[in-house]
């Protein structure tokens, strides 16, 4: 039985005169995959930063596992953040650290494990993600796909309950994109995390989704399937569907 792990209640967020999120409500269930899609500049990344507590809402509540993070102090927020793993669009690896040091970082900073134990865990996850032999390389020496895999390894090190993927396949060729999706499915099966994917890779990304949220002009529209999106009567969503999915779209299994 899944529970509501993230909830937005009447959230408003504006930057200057521009309202990005306008009284939005949202529920994300544990163990499920939620895809957040929509045209650029409509608030997808802001939504992600609000979930992570990197931005605070102007009004409304953001509940993570029942706790309101919108007015939470940094120390308590850090405890909540320990539940999250994030794969950033550009991987966000620390470019002055090697692959090994990047992946070991959360363990070194957040746990009391000894160096030998850390080494074993890091090498094990690097092996799982096909990165054996690349430990001593620096992010600048890796391809885009490999950087994403290192970012995923780092995000998974502390076995997060919730994984956020920000545009996980942007900048990757189709082969590498497929590789990332496979890794996503494998790691989700293994770790059982709730996943939130912000993506432009439409319609392919919908095949992974249990729930789709379209962000448009500061409002959220939630759909249970790609077919529901196509049947939407909201004009902006119809336009978005025609641009991204074509007039007819049939969902199919990816695996």
């Amino acid at each position: 039985m899944s529970r509501a792990i993230i909830q937005f209640k009447d959230v408003v967020k504006a930057f200057g005169q521009q309202t990005i999120l306008d009284h939005v409500d949202l529920t994300i269930s544990s163990g499920k995959t939620t895809v957040i899609a929509g045209p650029s500049g409509q608030g997808k990344s802001v939504t992600m930063k609000l979930i992570l507590g990197l931005l605070r809402p102007d009004s409304g509540q953001i509940l993570v596992d029942g706790q309101d993070i919108s007015r939470m102090r940094t120390k308590a927020l850090n405890e909540i953040r320990a539940k999250f793993g994030v794969l950033f669009q550009g991987s966000a690896l620390l470019d002055s650290l090697s692959v090994f040091a990047n992946v070991a970082l959360p363990l070194e900073e957040r746990t009391r494990l000894g160096s030998e134990e850390i080494r074993e865990k890091v090498l094990a996850i690097l092996a799982q993600l096909g990165l054996t032999g690349h430990e001593d390389k620096y992010p600048a020496q890796l391809s885009g796909g490999m950087r994403k895999r290192v970012g995923l390894a780092r995000a998974l090190m502390l076995q997060p309950e919730i994984m956020l993927f920000d545009e996980p396949t942007t900048g990757l060729d189709p082969e590498n994109s497929l590789e990332i999706y496979k890794l996503f499915l494998e790691t989700q099966r293994k770790f059982g995390y709730t996943s939130i994917i912000v993506s432009h890779d439409i319609p392919k990304i919908f095949n992974l989704a249990d729930q789709v949220i379209l962000v448009n002009k500061g409002k959220f529209s939630t759909f249970a399937s790609p077919e529901d999106i196509q049947l939407s009567e909201i004009p902006e969503i119809q336009t978005f569907v025609q641009y991204t999915m074509g007039k007819v779209y049939l969902s199919r299994e990816m695996e």
């Binding site: 992570l52 850090n78 999250f84 950033f88 470019d95 900073e109 957040r110």
Partner: protein, 262 residues
């Protein structure tokens, strides 16, 4: 008219916001000193980058500054027949003013710009966000080691600058122009008091704080500084801004500290 007032109001809000942000940044940067675990090895690495790697720059700048002071001082003092006061003139100029100020300006150009660009690039490439998402405090992890390293390095470099500068003055005055070496050292010994040395050291600490605060702060807030732009251009603009602001702040505070401490 209303548009003018709106612009003044919006600029005032922007300046106040910026001051608030930078004030909070300073408090968090210094507050990181008391957070555990303390990153000693990162601090030592920064001392090497900011301090040890500036050795030759400081050596040459100090040496030639001392030599110029020796030359200028000699020809000025000769008019009054008091070449023997050269040691006193060179050492007081260096200890009170030129040592701390020139060292701070050199460190701003060499290490301050590098710190600003490094943090700015980390901000733009979401590396700072990544640290926060991993519940790693970016101040304790990244900023505080730079604060401490600068506060350690700049006073040491200032002392080094003073020593090399005094020898530079000796080389020009006694080695090239024939001033009596005994008169040079005795003049210095008789005129320099503890207060002169303390003034230089206090200034160097204040300048160090200004450099690291402004340079890391501008980089940290590259994404919210209005008019900075985005990406590489944003980083380049805030780096230039950080160096200019630090240099101006050093000279303004030099005046204020001199007025207070004299």
């Amino acid at each position: 008219m209303i548009r003018y007032l709106e612009k003044i109001g919006s600029n005032t809000i922007m300046i106040l916001e910026d001051m608030g942000r930078m004030g909070a940044f300073l408090a968090l940067g210094l507050g990181g000193i008391f957070k555990r675990p303390f990153r000693f090895s990162a601090m030592i690495r920064q001392v090497r980058l900011i301090g040890a790697d500036s050795f030759w720059v400081i050596f040459f700048v100090a040496g030639f500054t001392g030599m110029v002071l020796g030359l200028q001082g000699y020809y000025t003092l000769r008019k009054f027949g008091s070449e023997g006061a050269l040691g006193s003139a060179v050492s007081l100029s260096l200890l009170r003013e030129l040592g701390p100020v020139l060292t701070a300006l050199m460190v701003t150009g060499r290490a301050g710009s590098a710190m600003c660009a490094e943090i700015g690039i980390m901000r733009n490439s979401e590396q700072l966000d990544a640290l926060e998402c991993m519940a790693i405090d970016p101040f304790r992890y990244l900023i505080t080691p730079k604060f401490l390293a600068t506060l350690i390095s700049v006073p040491i470099l200032t002392i080094f600058f003073n020593v090399v500068g005094i020898f530079g003055g000796y080389l020009a005055g006694c080695g090239l122009l024939g001033v009596n070496p005994g008169a040079y050292w005795t003049g210095m010994e008789q005129s320099v008091v503890n207060q002169d040395i303390n003034m230089g050291i206090i200034k160097s600490f204040v300048f160090a704080l200004l450099i690291v605060w402004i340079c890391t702060g501008r980089g940290y807030f590259v994404h919210v500084i209005r008019g900075a732009g985005f990406g590489a251009e944003g980083v380049s603009k805030v780096t230039t801004q950080a160096v200019v602001l630090s240099s101006v702040a050093i000279l303004v505070w030099d005046y204020l500290l001199t007025a207070i401490l004299l």
